[in-house]
């Protein structure tokens, strides 16, 4: 009996990442990437750690092609990318907090997510027990006689997530804002490691509640890439339908909330009605208002019944009627324009440097949209135009959101008209052959969500990295508020509406 013939095929080494191969580089190669990021030839998509290596995902400038590179760091350190390219700084600080890998010569070595309260250091990699204590944190200085500091948070005045903002102000004018986050760090990276795919999917759906559809979609796409699963066409349309409903609900909710922060409650009341009706229809069609856990690797778990299509058409028609009225209400209210125009400007240069996604990037001239750039199904079959503006202020971000509302309405109409019949989930089983890797880049309402994961042969998640778009948006809020008055901060912050939970993970 030939024993060898019964063996499984050899594990490819390193495991092939799909659909974008992962390339192993040496220190020089790593630095070359960091330098090209600094020169603006590439854009940083993410940076994440593992037990003894670091990974980087970048977007090539010329063609929207994603590349993933890996550097082994047996000595527990790697050349700092943040030293050359500041958008990497917070990611490097998070890698050190969670995995204990140090970025050499990094300009900022303060902890980021670790507040000294977990009872362990670097919990995801060879954890070291410590006595929990509150770590002191040195905020960056702002000096000058008339300056005073205003600490805000973590518990905020509104019904929002926790985070800390430290303002240094000269009278009413903000001289420096420094953010401190990590308050909602839930240890998702470590919970993912060792989880079954089902449990990992539930965790992914709860990274950021407002983007639960987008996260489930990104996670599922990465799994499907890793295992070469073909999603049935109908499922791709239903996924897009949920994603666009989520986008619409969030945009309406946020536009109302932005206006509310400028004391224009009428807009808030009207937009809340639209949002509520979308969520009710989502519950009616898919059984959950936020459509949580409705997308699973392989497809979707709920089909859309024919009578629900009619209900959705009615909803869309009504929103199409309301949208121009709301646009007029926003555009014609000069007291509102007085607050939004010229407030919280993000320059095009910064938006590009930070590869800032979503409406924040698009309002500042960076028109990246993963639906177009990555072209995942069914978007190449659909006609829509993404919003764009160059003003970079609160006003521009609202107008871009209105553009996106129009685009989403158009997409939903096409989906309802054109969604093919057929199965809604692919039958697939774990091949149990070797370790596999997959990645995905998906457009959530806030911007592009990146997922990279590695699944062991027995179907257990070894590592799952989820990068929220907020990582590259939060730093820009610090820039946007500079030289604005303190009272305009809520307005700026709401126009960004970055995720705390998605960022703190």
């Amino acid at each position: 009996m030939n024993f060898a013939s019964k063996q499984k095929p050899a594990q490819p080494s390193p495991p092939t990442c799909l659909p974008w191969p992962r390339e192993i580089v040496d220190r020089a190669g790593w630095l070359a990437f960091a330098e090209s990021l600094a020169k603006g030839e590439r854009e940083l998509l993410s940076l994440w750690g593992e037990s003894s290596n670091v990974h980087m995902a970048v977007l090539e400038e010329r063609e929207p092609r994603l590349r993933i590179i890996t550097l082994d760091c047996p000595k527990g350190s790697f050349p700092s990318v943040g030293r050359l390219h500041p958008p990497a700084l917070r990611l490097e600080r998070a890698i050190r907090d969670l995995y204990g890998l140090r970025a050499e010569n990094a300009p900022d070595e303060r902890p980021w997510l670790d507040h000294g309260r977990w009872g362990v250091r670097h919990p995801c990699n060879d954890p070291e027990k410590i006595d929990s204590a509150s770590d002191s944190y040195a905020f960056l200085p702002a000096e000058g006689e008339p300056l005073h500091q205003i600490p805000v948070g973590p518990v905020h005045a509104g019904i929002i997530e926790p985070g800390h903002f430290r303002f240094s102000a000269n009278g009413e004018t903000v001289v420096r804002l420094e953010e401190r986050f990590g308050f909602v760090h839930k240890g998702v990276d470590q919970l993912m490691a060792g989880a079954s795919i089902e449990r990992a999917a539930r965790l992914a759906a709860r990274v950021s509640g407002d983007s639960t559809v987008a996260y489930s979609l990104a996670f599922s796409q990465a799994i499907e890439a890793a295992f070469d699963v073909n999603v049935p066409p109908r499922a791709t349309y239903l996924r897009a339908l949920m994603a666009e409903l989520e986008r619409l609900a969030n945009h309406f909710g946020d536009i109302g909330a932005i206006c509310n922060d400028a004391a224009f409650a009428l807009m808030h009341a009207q937009c809340s009605i639209v949002r509520e009706r979308i969520l009710r229809e989502a519950a009616n069609c898919f059984g959950h208002r936020l459509m949580m856990d409705r997308i699973a690797p392989g497809g979707v778990v709920v089909d859309l019944a024919q009578e629900k299509v009619t209900a959705l058409f009615t909803l869309i028609e009504w929103i199409e009627l309301m949208t121009p009225r709301l646009i007029a209400l926003f555009g014609d209210t000069t007291s509102l324009q007085d607050r939004t125009v010229g407030t919280g400007v993000v320059s095009e240069a910064l938006a590009k440097q930070y590869a800032c996604g979503g409406y924040i990037g698009r309002a500042s001239g960076r028109t990246f949209d993963a639906r177009k750039a990555m072209g995942y199904a069914p978007y190449p079959q659909l006609t829509f135009e993404i919003g764009a503006a160059t003003g970079g202020d609160v006003d521009a971000r609202v107008w871009v959101r209105f553009d996106e509302i129009r685009a989403s309405l158009r997409i939903v109409r096409q989906i309802l008209d054109e969604a093919p019949e057929g199965p809604i989930i692919a039958a697939w089983a774990l091949p149990e052959d070797w370790t596999r890797e997959g990645a995905a880049l998906v457009e959530g309402f806030r911007g592009d969500i990146f997922v990279w994961l590695r699944i062991r042969a027995d179907g257990v998640v070894q590592r799952c990295h989820l990068r929220d778009p907020s990582w590259f948006q939060w730093p820009l809020l610090e820039a946007a508020i500079k030289d604005n008055i303190v009272a305009d901060f809520p307005l700026c912050n709401k126009s960004f509406n970055c995720s705390y939970s998605g960022h703190d993970l």
Partner: protein
């Protein structure tokens, strides 16, 4: 703007009839509310929401309570900006270790008499995060909880039922 205002005058309000409170919530609350507090506060309560590590899903649904359909304020319940003004803390999330002290301090800053309502499955027992090194788990491990409203996230009707039960037990 005139159009919207006129519509507001001429059309019927969107606000829906109040749901009947959940019997389970009523039972849980039966013992928690003192007589003195009822006399002092009547049916009017101020709520401070504290996110102690939620994914933001619960916050979205709590927010919805303020929209025209649910109109929470008609029950005498309103959200306030500071724990100093609050009678009730509405706490969500699996209490991350990084938020524990902030929650304790918020509780300490709330004047007596005070109550805590834990919202969502995470606040009940830590939910999907219960085994994490970064989370304490149930809100009840950190501050005394008077009522749990379950759900992931609980929808506004469920929240309303819980809150109405709370107010009814008081009056």
């Amino acid at each position: 703007m005139q159009k919207f205002l006129l519509q507001g005058l001429l059309r019927r309000a969107l606000t829906e009839q109040a749901p009947i409170p959940n019997p389970a919530s009523l039972a849980e609350l039966g013992y928690t509310l003192g007589r003195t507090a009822r006399q002092k506060l009547g049916r009017s309560l101020s709520i401070r929401e504290v996110d102690a590590g939620s994914c933001n899903g619960c916050e979205l649904e709590i927010h919805a309570l303020n929209n025209a359909y649910y109109d929470l304020e008609r029950f005498g319940l309103r959200f306030v900006a500071s724990p100093r003004h609050a009678d009730v803390l509405l706490v969500t999330g699996p209490v991350t270790k990084n938020m524990r002290e902030a929650l304790e301090r918020t509780y300490a800053a709330t004047p007596d008499p005070k109550w805590v309502i834990a919202v969502g499955d995470c606040a009940f027992d830590g939910g999907v995060y219960c085994e994490s090194y970064a989370c304490v788990g149930a809100v009840a491990k950190v501050v005394p909880v008077d009522l749990h409203i379950r759900g992931c996230p609980p929808d506004p009707t469920t929240l309303l039922k819980g809150l109405i039960a709370f107010v009814e037990t008081m009056s």
